[in-house]
Symmetry: C2
Subunit: 189 residues, 2 copies
């Protein structure tokens, strides 16, 4: 689990924050590679404070609690960053769909891939803009590395999708295989 480490890290990186500020900070940075919603962040902050990895330093406007990372929290974060790689979780819904896409009308599969390619293109554009921003501190350089990873991977995915569209177009001639013939109009299914 890296939500806890992401939270400690953001506190270490950007100073004392309230839960709300952290959800915003998540959106702007870590959220590119780790999603988290308020409903998970608030309880996790309470648990982290219990565990002594973060500490409440004061209060914000409306009963808000400001937290900061403790030395123990930062030590734990450091330990986690360099610990042995756990067998990593792979969870890619898109590829599950593609794996079974031979079951649907090739035109629908193609449409799906086109929408996907569009999404990759616009995401790539966003990432490239961020990657072009000026970078100075070590923290910014580390952050830039994650953006660069996003750029390279998204580029690869886009090229893949464009290729896959061509491949699926070639399926157009044949009937889809397996199971019953797909409904031409899914609304009636």
């Amino acid at each position: 689990m890296s939500l806890r480490h992401g939270l400690i890290g953001l506190l270490a990186r950007e100073g004392p924050q309230t839960g709300y500020q952290l959800t915003k900070a998540f959106d702007r940075s870590v959220n590119f590679f780790w999603n988290a919603l308020p409903g998970q962040i608030y309880p996790e902050l309470a648990r982290l404070a219990d565990a002594g990895l973060i500490r409440q330093t004061g209060s914000g406007p409306r009963g808000a609690k400001k937290y900061e990372a403790t030395a123990e929290g930062i030590a734990e974060l450091r330990r986690w960053i360099t610990e042995n790689e756990p067998t990593q979780v792979i969870r890619n819904e898109t590829l599950v769909r593609v794996f079974f896409s031979y079951l649907v009308d090739p035109a629908e599969a193609e449409g799906f891939l086109r929408r996907l390619a569009d999404a990759y293109r616009s995401y790539l554009f966003t990432l490239e803009e961020i990657a072009a921003e000026h970078v100075e501190t070590l923290a910014e350089r580390a952050s830039w590395l994650t953006v660069d990873a996003g750029v390279r991977v998204t580029r690869a995915r886009l090229e893949w999708a464009e290729n896959a569209i061509e491949e699926v177009r070639r399926w157009g001639a044949k009937r889809p295989q397996g199971g019953q013939a797909p409904a031409r109009n899914p609304r009636n299914a």
Copy 2:
């Protein structure tokens, strides 16, 4: 959630199976992009049967239940494959580590990236072997597309990691920033 769809799909693709056979089939195919353990698969099969998306057709050796996909199940799978893309979940622990890697000794960060690059290299090798296998049916072609996605993305990640190693080497000269100075020997932390 695509576990349920993965299970229906494997039953549709490879005929009636027991839970155990499905966990094996998972390992060989879908597992490359969607992890699932027996502890999740068995209960899910029971739920799918309840919902009428799969059906028990017979029994295997030791009280094992053989399932097959029903027409309803396949219809649901088709519907899901082409439905509008849900805002996709991003969850990449590696990048969380890299984002905060400026907190640790650059030598440790470099070591982490080197192990990562090694893992990518051997994974890439595996995928390239699979991609070179002979492909014939539509189902195999769809499967090949997912392997090709893996190859391209892993190649991009490997190139990224090799680049990132060079970048992190440049950090070596400077002190790590933020928080307290990292312990040189994490065992004493």
